[in-house]
Symmetry: C2
Amino acid sequence: MTGTEFARLSLNTKTTNSWTLREAVEGAAAAGLPAVGLWRDRVAEAGVAESAKILADNGIRVSSLCRGGFLTGFDDALDDNRRAIEEAAALGAPELVMVVGGIPHRDLPGARARVADRIGALAPHAAACGVRLALEPLHPMYCADRAVISTLSQALALAEPHPADVVGVVVDTFHVWWDPELPQQIAEAGRQSRISSYQICDWLVPMAADPLMSRGMMGDGVIDFASVTAMVSAAGYHGDVEVEIFNADVWSADPRGVVETMKQRYRELVLPGLSA
Amino acid sequence: MTGTEFARLSLNTKTTNSWTLREAVEGAAAAGLPAVGLWRDRVAEAGVAESAKILADNGIRVSSLCRGGFLTGFDDALDDNRRAIEEAAALGAPELVMVVGGIPHRDLPGARARVADRIGALAPHAAACGVRLALEPLHPMYCADRAVISTLSQALALAEPHPADVVGVVVDTFHVWWDPELPQQIAEAGRQSRISSYQICDWLVPMAADPLMSRGMMGDGVIDFASVTAMVSAAGYHGDVEVEIFNADVWSADPRGVVETMKQRYRELVLPGLSA
């Protein structure tokens, strides 16, 4: 029963990076998938209205839009984030993934304080648009240049002043698998109804020379997907499972073959956790 | 007053990687430094007895011996760790830095449990030899292949069953600077009298292609040394400050020049935190 098996599997456009938005949406539909995760670069190429039409024509929903954020600089970036919120709304994306930005000038506490302030400034617009700001803890190796949110615990603390349907958190296996507090923090995110998105890919050993390109296909690395998936399931998350892979080998392979491998690995490694 | 300024500055042999143990000890003495941190490879080349003699002849103490560990495999590695403890004792090194090992077979909880068991197995011998096992949290990017201890909080939990003078924790700026709980965890480590070693180097942006070689000279990256050093000082740590740099550019430079730069950066960036 393909329909049942893949009813929660979403193809992030980064995984098939050579595909246009239309190719990704049609490729997902052809593979029997119900959803895609979109990056704004592909949406910009196609245009927001045309992207929405392509999605509707193919009966494909959007699990999340990537990404807003980069809130830690001296330029507050709020206008661009408001546009990202509006794009998410226009695309029917319930969640806008927020990669909050790194540290200018060695001031980590200051950067974190600016994130808190600016999430507060954006939350009313997100609420008005029916889009949730999904705070993504990134692996600590990106703390300097990409995201000063490094753990689920920290993301939940930043979300705390806001309603759970306005600010949530992303659980991305690559970023959080190492966290000694992972079971407790996923459970806590579930108790607060704040799990916005469950994104998956593997942690490769050795890492790629470019740390941004070290995300691997499930099963090619060290992550125990059944275990993490069972935590997310037990926490009450019933949303899509989005596969997001940045990897030169995956990107140079035939995208149709990548989607087939993704489905197979999902069936073997992830589904057992979802049904646990 | 050079003697006062550098009274706590220790040169780790990795920082001047092209030097033999004798060259490093004599280089430290010539530069007016009181201490070195030793890696076992350099000790093995010189021999333990000869190393101890070189240290004594130059009036140089050992801040720590690197390293024991790699306790997560199915081979328990206890014999080699017992030898490392004995080497530390013979060299007068009060602290044996423990890099505990990565995860075989995707089983992170199992690997962490083996670390706890094997620290327990080693603790009596360490106590008998007067050497403290210094558990080092490594940056989470090394969790898979090098150390399943990723945070100070986790290291303190593993140390907890043991007396503070038998099992301590290492604070290494490169590994822990990103931790949202860093101030609280350093303070807690201090309250428990468990800070075994304060190791410093900077976090470079971008990272080096080999993540093991991305440790930079203080001031070349994003870490706020005055701030972290002040936390360690306020926590009651009065021991050596060991500079440990793995970096191809640093290793290919003239070691004497590296030591001079290290002293200068220490004076500018670290000393203000020590006196805070």
